[in-house]
């Protein structure tokens, strides 16, 4: 065991409902400066509820301790390397949190007069300009609330484009290496999903593609760099094949952290893409949201962008809904504005030159990991990578240890696991994305831990198979959780319904990037 992790005490903490007792409270309201209204009289007795049954009653200090104790049970970027592939877990600068909380921004109401919203609108305008420059695309919407929401928006744009030419077309091509959201999105947008087999290098197979594309193809959804962390060197040729049949190229921007300042999707044939602000532009993941999923497009898709759109009128900015071909709204108001503020602050802090330098460091870190770990782990596609590297557990599996178990053992060494069992085209994948905000010291610690685990697999595989050993809870029973779902607290014993066998498929500890 290296020195990176030692055990320390954490406090147990019940559910808040188990700490509640009647009459306690954690708030005080001011005296009413108007007469108090009797709810039954104002609303009608039948419309008024008694107290909210089961709601907790606790004091302020108990709330603080409750959540502080819970927080100590989490791993976080602030604690160390978080090498989840395709998730881009980089440092979240604190100035971004501070500026998003400035009164004039945090308390801006979306319906306040536009002449009193120019500051908020400038945030949006400036971020739009910066993201267009970075992506090499012509127009953008910041309305989508997350990456998957951006995907849906992007595919609706594609559909509107084809529809305007008389035929929405029938299917979307999705490579077998794609994120799960891609096929799910295509389905919701009313398209049939056709899987595209990768070539023996894990790349787009141009022949396969040429064979699959026809007049019914609406678009190809491609991730570049792909989920192996490799730049699709034939992306421009692939785009030509699609464009020749009138089909679009949709790019999943999950891996944009490999490209900023190096290459621009708009320059290699992409028509439409989403950008994950919570990945590339470092807005905090927050335990699973909020995110931001702007969608950038070439000019031929611009007429279909969601409304309202921002435009300049003299030295003022104004919202306009005068875009008759728009797909309409995908979210109320203007998107996750607070996330947009943070992303803009990130871009301003770096500026053009350091955005590129950040990309260089991200790619350097991933290649450094590949070189240092290749003597110990199998590299199914052994070639230079961009911002992430994918190993397989082939060597360890021979000893009965799989990627999921190596991941759990990594926790004992003080690191969050990499992405497990994804992409699907690599059997037993270990997908590692360090990001640029890791020091050499932190990377070396992680690499040493991985090497130590590789040795353990050889010499004492049981230690790895039973990991983690040093966490509060270990080997959580996810099968029972799915078979007898208990998804809320009740004062009585929980009686959960039986589940079907289908619910258990995939209930094993599998994680996917998003």
């Amino acid at each position: 065991m290296t020195q990176n992790a030692r055990q320390h005490l954490t406090r147990n903490e019940e559910l808040i409902f188990e700490r509640s007792s009647p009459g306690k409270n954690g708030y005080q309201l001011p005296e009413l400066d108007v007469p108090e209204i009797d709810p039954a009289r104002a609303l009608g007795e039948e419309r008024v509820r008694g107290g909210i049954e089961g709601f907790p009653e606790v004091s302020e200090v108990e709330v603080i301790r409750h959540f502080t104790r819970l927080s100590t049970w989490n791993y976080a970027i602030d604690l160390g390397l978080y090498p989840l592939g395709s998730c881009t877990m980089k440092y979240n600068p604190r100035i971004n949190e501070a500026v998003a909380r400035y009164d004039g921004l945090a308390w801006a109401h979306p319906y306040q007069p536009q002449e009193l919203s120019q500051g908020a609108m400038e945030v949006i305008a400036r971020l739009e300009d910066a993201l267009c420059e970075i992506s090499g695309l012509d127009a953008i919407t910041l309305q989508p609330a997350a990456g998957a929401h951006g995907e849906l928006t992007g595919i609706l744009l594609v559909r509107a484009f084809h529809q305007a030419r008389g035929n929405p077309r029938k299917h979307i091509l999705v490579p077998d290496s794609a994120h799960g959201t891609n096929p799910a999105t295509a389905g919701i947008a009313g398209y049939e999903v056709r899987n595209l087999k990768s070539n023996d290098q894990g790349m787009i197979d141009l022949e396969e593609l040429a064979h699959a594309v026809n007049e019914d193809t609406a678009a190809l959804m491609v991730t570049n760099p792909n989920t192996l962390g490799v730049f699709e060197e034939n992306i421009a040729k692939a785009a030509d094949i699609l464009h020749a049949k009138g089909a679009m190229v949709y790019m999943d921007g999950a891996n944009m952290n490999a490209l900023v300042g190096i290459a621009r999707p708009g320059d290699f044939g992409v028509d439409v893409m989403h950008i994950n602000l919570h990945k590339t532009f470092s807005t905090p993941h927050g335990g699973g949201g909020p995110g931001g999923g702007p969608v950038a497009v070439r000019s031929h898709l611009a007429p279909y962008l969601p409304i309202p759109r921002l435009r300049r009128a003299g030295d003022k900015l104004e919202w306009s809904s005068d875009f008759p071909e728009s797909i309409g709204r995908v979210r109320a108001f203007y998107g996750n504005f607070g996330v947009l503020v943070r992303a803009l602050a990130y871009i301003l802090a770096h500026g053009g030159p350091d955005l590129r330098n950040a990309t260089v460091d991200a790619v350097l870190n991933a290649n450094y990991i590949r070189h240092r770990l290749r003597p110990y782990f199998d590299l199914p596609y052994d070639r230079p990578n961009m911002h992430e590297v994918v190993f397989s557990d082939a060597r360890q599996a021979a000893k009965g240890v799989r990627t999921g178990e190596i991941a759990k053992r990594l926790i004992d060494y003080g690191y969050h696991p990499y992405t497990v069992s994804f992409p699907l085209i690599v059997h037993g994948a270990l997908m590692i994305e360090p990001t640029e905000t890791e020091s050499k010291l932190e990377l070396d610690g992680f690499i040493d831990a991985m090497i130590a685990i590789a040795h353990e697999v050889e010499n004492e595989p049981q230690t790895v198979l039973k990991a983690p050993h040093r966490t509060r809870v270990s080997r959580v029973d996810e099968v029972t959780a799915a078979r007898r779902p208990v998804v809320r607290w009740t004062p009585e014993a929980n009686i959960a319904p039986q589940t079907t066998a289908a619910d258990l498929v995939g209930a094993a500890n599998v994680q996917r990037p998003e």
Binding site: R49, L70, W73, W107, H179, A263, F337, D354
Partner: protein
């Protein structure tokens, strides 16, 4: 660059370990003609002080120091300081979706408490870990109803938030789900039941209503649900003002509840990020989209939590998933969780009564367009000057007036949607009434 933790010597050492002479060699896999062969046209980076200064300047260009009577889906409620204290902890702020349950128990337990309180608040059996916001929770609820009933028609109240309706139409269009609206009663502002009954048929998957509706009027969900049930349709209850549930009967007759939690300590933030909710009856649990946390035990028999029923989700089912959604709004939902625990059983009720009392004080001073019961906002009927003129006069007195409704509801003419919360001061209400009635 202060966020890049390496010296040039370390970079050279690492390049050397990779067998590379320069950083440019890292990108040889990118074909030269596809590379960007110029610097990005973005100014060089600036210091933390300059960033703070720039955003301070932007914040000052927005409304500052105004009293506001705007609601319409985004409400001014006090945010207890404890909320930001907790969500600013790096262990919550900088963690990922809790897939690795052993080192994510904090987030998982917080979500489990959230799910529980959403059930208690709404009267439903199961709630997911949150949605992007209220406007996107509504189409997800509609799609859920379509899956459950295997019918395709969606009926939505014209008194639901206009932007929610627009989002619903965007989602429904390409899935060939016809969306049709039913009207409101011109006098009460409540749903016109006769119109709903006329439009309901046996192809209807669900009836969607909002309560309090966009006009602030409280609906009779039971009457709507009775009509829907008779035709085999589900009832989807939506709310935009969560504080109303501190005093209103929960929608026990609904099959799905889709709502917005912004009122629970989530800053208005020019419209987001917010947190939506989706809750339903137990029998429909497997049709819920989004994340769900369940309680279980670990290998030593300790209570533990984990993400569960993932087979509904995109990363397992791909194109057959219930939704393409993959995240929730964890950190924003945490704000709401902390808020609900601070206010608790008594506090939420008291808060709701304060809102009710303020709005009714103001309501008594203005001419209200609708007679139906209202919570903390209502439609004020302007009799004299156009709303725009009234609002201009109010701005001179540092007051942002009500929301003009003509654009969305031409039939309401010169009317404005006015909201009062616990933050609204009596003196400002008096001023508003004075200018409005002048």
């Amino acid at each position: 660059m202060r966020y890049l933790p390496k010296s040039d010597a370390e970079r050279r050492e690492m390049l050397g370990a990779c067998g590379l002479a320069s950083a440019d060699e890292l990108f040889e896999q990118v074909p030269p003609d596809l590379r960007l062969n110029r610097p990005l046209a973005l100014a060089p980076g600036i210091s933390e002080y300059e960033i703070a200064d720039y955003f301070k300047m932007l914040a000052q260009k927005n409304a500052n120091g105004y009293a506001s009577f705007l609601g319409a889906g985004v409400y001014n409620h006090y945010r207890p300081v404890v909320v930001d204290t907790i969500v600013s902890r790096g262990e919550f702020l900088t963690s990922y979706t809790p897939y690795q349950s052993e080192i994510s128990q904090g987030t998982l337990q917080a979500i489990f408490e959230f799910q529980t309180m959403i059930c208690q608040l709404t009267g439903m059996d199961v709630a997911n870990a949150s949605m992007y916001d209220g406007s996107t929770a509504v189409p997800e609820a509609a799609m859920m109803a379509v899956r459950i009933t295997r019918k395709h028609r969606i009926l939505v109240a014209r008194s639901m938030h206009p932007e929610y309706r627009e989002v619903l139409r965007t989602y429904a269009r390409d899935q060939s789900l016809p969306v049709e609206e039913f009207g409101y009663d011109a006098e009460s502002g409540q749903i016109e039941l006769a119109d709903l009954e006329r439009k309901l048929d046996d192809q209807t998957a669900c009836v969607i209503l909002q309560s309090p509706n966009f006009f602030g009027v409280v609906e009779d969900t039971g009457a709507v649900a009775d009509l829907a049930r008779a035709k085999g349709a589900l009832t989807v209850y939506t709310f935009a003002e969560a504080v109303s549930l501190g005093i209103l009967e929960p929608p026990r007759d609904a099959d799905i509840v889709a709502g917005e939690l912004q009122s629970f300590a989530i800053p208005p933030s020019y419209g987001g990020p917010f947190a939506g909710i989706l809750a339903t009856r137990e029998k429909y649990m497997r049709q819920l989209p989004g994340r769900l946390v369940g309680e279980t035990t670990d290998v030593n028999g300790h209570r533990a939590f984990c993400l569960t029923l993932a087979t509904r989700e995109q990363h397992i089912r791909r194109e057959k998933a219930t939704s393409n959604i993959c995240t929730n709004q964890a950190l924003v939902a945490l704000m709401a969780t902390v808020f609900m625990e601070l206010y608790g059983k008594q506090g939420l009720r008291e808060l709701a009564i304060q809102n009710l009392s303020k709005a009714h004080y103001l309501g008594a001073k203005l001419e209200r367009r609708f007679s139906g019961p209202y919570f903390n906002e209502f439609v004020a009927q302007g009799n004299g000057a156009p709303v725009a003129d009234v609002n201009r006069k109010l701005l001179e007195r540092k007051i942002i007036g009500g929301l003009p409704l003509r654009e969305w509801y031409p039939e309401l003419g010169n009317a404005a949607l006015v909201c009062a919360t616990e933050m609204t001061k009596r003196a400002d209400m008096d001023t508003l009434a004075e200018v409005f009635e002048a």
